[in-house]
Symmetry: C2
Subunit: 181 residues, 2 copies
């Protein structure tokens, strides 16, 4: 007879690989294992089930599942008559991908575009100083030049995010059809 552990072993190996990938993107091992576990789980899961299946603490499940929710990799799901919170993995992985990277890229833009503006302001302010030396002017202008180029990058990235979020990207890189057998 086929032991259940053989099926589980096949899952485990793939989950391990998923975990490694997610670690690449800065997610913790526990989040990776948790997501992988949920990926294979048909029904929405409770924190306790997660605890059992992953063998990790409930606290980890709580924080992990919340973090995964924030990234839209899993979703809360309500079920009438069930008190416990239920979560399931987002099944559309392309969607997860887009969600994940757009959030990151947005953060990058938000963070750096602001810092860039401040730096520009400061440098422009220095140019007004009457006692500035010619050498300093050169340096400041070089910096401003670099920042101006960087701004173009952020503009491009903003447009890229739009292209992904609007789904326009699929006009150029279509999602292959799923053919149920």
């Amino acid at each position: 007879m086929v032991t259940p552990t053989k099926i589980e072993e096949a899952r485990r190996a793939y989950i391990e690989s998923l975990t490694e990938t997610m670690a690449m993107y800065g997610l913790s091992p526990s989040m990776g294992r948790l997501y992988g576990t949920m990926f294979f789980h048909e029904d929405p899961m409770t924190l306790d089930e997660m605890m059992d299946l992953t063998g990790m603490s409930k606290t980890s499940m709580s924080t992990g599942v919340r973090a995964l929710s924030a990234l839209k990799l899993v979703h809360k799901k309500w079920q009438k008559g069930v008190r416990k919170d239920l979560y399931e993995a987002e099944h559309d992985q392309v969607r997860s991908f887009i969600e994940f990277f757009c959030v990151m890229w947005d953060k990058e833009i938000e963070l750096n575009a602001r810092a860039l503006s401040r730096a520009e302001e400061n440098l422009n302010g220095l140019l007004d100083d009457p006692e500035i030396t010619p050498e300093e002017v050169t340096n400041i202008e070089m910096d401003l030049n670099r920042l101006a180029k960087a701004k173009l990058y952020y503009t491009w990235l903003r447009n890229l995010v739009k292209t992904f979020e609007s789904g326009e990207i699929f006009d150029h890189v279509p999602v292959p059809e799923y053919l149920d057998k």
Copy 2:
């Protein structure tokens, strides 16, 4: 008179922001500071200059600059008569972006597509077992189904990488023009 430190202070603030962004993508603080420093430095730099400007150890500079090179965020540059290795930041940030993410995505595909194939093989092997129970068959088929869907995602991602690497992406998300003043 404008002190040099005021210019440096403007730089430092922006570098800090860059560092934070890069941390988001899994790069260490030292790599972030180093890249940021090189971003503002006109000429190619030696390890010693990096050490001076960042205030960090030479070992950090050596490993950091090599890691940044692997990601194509900086480039080695030869200069006749100079024995020391010289490095400069890649000025085209859009190119850096594409290079960086395509490397990551390639790694993800390579790692997971392989693990997926192995999992499929294993599960299909289990189906051949004559003593398998109907319930197990259901479970295995559910798993195979999920994996089949995941494969579509990897196919899509492969195509996305191609679209970026070939430059085709710029037909749909063009890089804004730089207008020198």
